[in-house]
Homo-oligomer: 136 residues x 4
DNA sequence: GTGGTCTAGACCACA
DNA sequence: GTGGTCTAGACCACC
């Protein structure tokens, strides 16, 4: 059973936290294509949240193409992860990188510190999706 | 006059977008300590949003210590930017880096691509806040 | 249901009066950690003020750490009340004491009268937060 | 020449800070009945504030009866300080004491700490207006 | 049901 | 001129 960590005080909606963590598991390879996700009822019980919250998280992920929901069967990781248009991918990457850069600068972190933080985050996801490179 | 870019359909609250962009200008040095920000009414007029929306953005930034509001005078960039506790800084950096890493992986971007995106974002902020280093 | 007393002619903003009275109830133990506060709409209706005024009061208290707001659930007294840095606490105490002292002197109240007023105020808050001491 | 200490970042209006400090000097006896206050122009110059701000502070104090303004002559400490009705005095004292008590409790200060803070504040005003008492 | 955001516009307070 | 507060009411997001 996967482990989920919810923070009710963070201001981030619960269903959003769930989506992020499922995406995280998929990106890290802990959830592979075709794997079954926990049932809505069980997950709701374990996390002590309203089942409709899980429904919303699964629904959004299905909408994105990250998972597929089979009526009466359950939810499964999609066989092929969604491919965004090149332009949107670049834009999204740019936005996230900019946010990290701005906040790092504002909190007085040096550029190497910021880059190291990113390297560590990439490493913690494992190498499942990519061959090793000389850069990392 | 600074330029602001608002996206009403992004789901991100307008006042949040404003805060992010002002923080960006401060981090990049386009707004230096003591500089005056646009008046609430003028900015509201230029951006075609309600003045109370600007009030909220300025108020939150003042709360954070990024700017200082002087009644009857205007809003100004704070002389010393706020310093978060070391632990919270590291945690925030880690969270942002993790988000970037996960989304980069999921959209199929390679690790060097993600790191390059961050390097570019840091460079676009300029070197105003840091002495020259051998890293640059 | 808690009782709130608003004075529209005092010059003190309504949202400020609300914050003060909620802080008072928390300090006195009438509102304990985890207790639910009245919903924004209900409180607005009871006090005959605009809901956004309550929103502002609750938002500021949440910012201070006195209460916690859970989207879709309601507002609750925080489990652990915020701890200010020692230096700021002393300075704040000094400022409040000085204000009381100056005004007491100016209105011709004797020093024992002022001290008695403070003793009564402390007693009216009850002993909920402190073990019995020989001082009381 | 009296010394005034203004804090533009405190959120307290400048004219209010001025009023408080003049009241303080009167309560402490540094300004006695009939003493002249600094001229509006000079004080504005020394404090680097707009003269209308001083005008407002002096005007409010004159309205309260703390000072008297003689056209063409200047501002002077009133011969007899204003006496509030007994009921209002008690109420005001109670409100200030309550605020001190609530904030002291909330910041974790003990009751003796709060009372000590008040004793120190009263002592710092000196004994000019009152005979020594066995309580202090 | 809950809280969050935004609008349009009024009126007040400060410098 | 500046910012601060409040209203009345709409629409959205969360649970």
């Amino acid at each position: 059973m996967l482990h989920f960590q919810l923070n009710v005080h963070s201001g981030v909606p619960v269903y959003r936290q769930l989506m992020d963590q499922i995406r995280h598991y998929v990106a890290a390879g802990a959830l592979a294509a075709g794997d079954a996700l926990p049932s809505i009822r069980e997950l709701a019980r374990v996390l002590a949240v309203n089942p409709t919250t899980i429904v919303k998280a699964y629904g959004e992920l299905a909408h994105e193409g990250v998972i597929v929901i089979r009526h009466g069967r359950g939810a499964f990781v999609a066989e092929s992860q969604p491919a965004w248009p090149q332009a949107r991918r670049r834009e999204r990457l740019r936005a996230l990188a900019s946010q990290l850069a701005v906040e790092a600068r504002q909190m007085g972190a040096s550029d190497p510190e910021a880059l190291d933080a990113l390297r560590r985050a990439l490493e913690s996801l494992g190498r499942s999706n990519h061959p090793p490179t000389s850069d990392s």
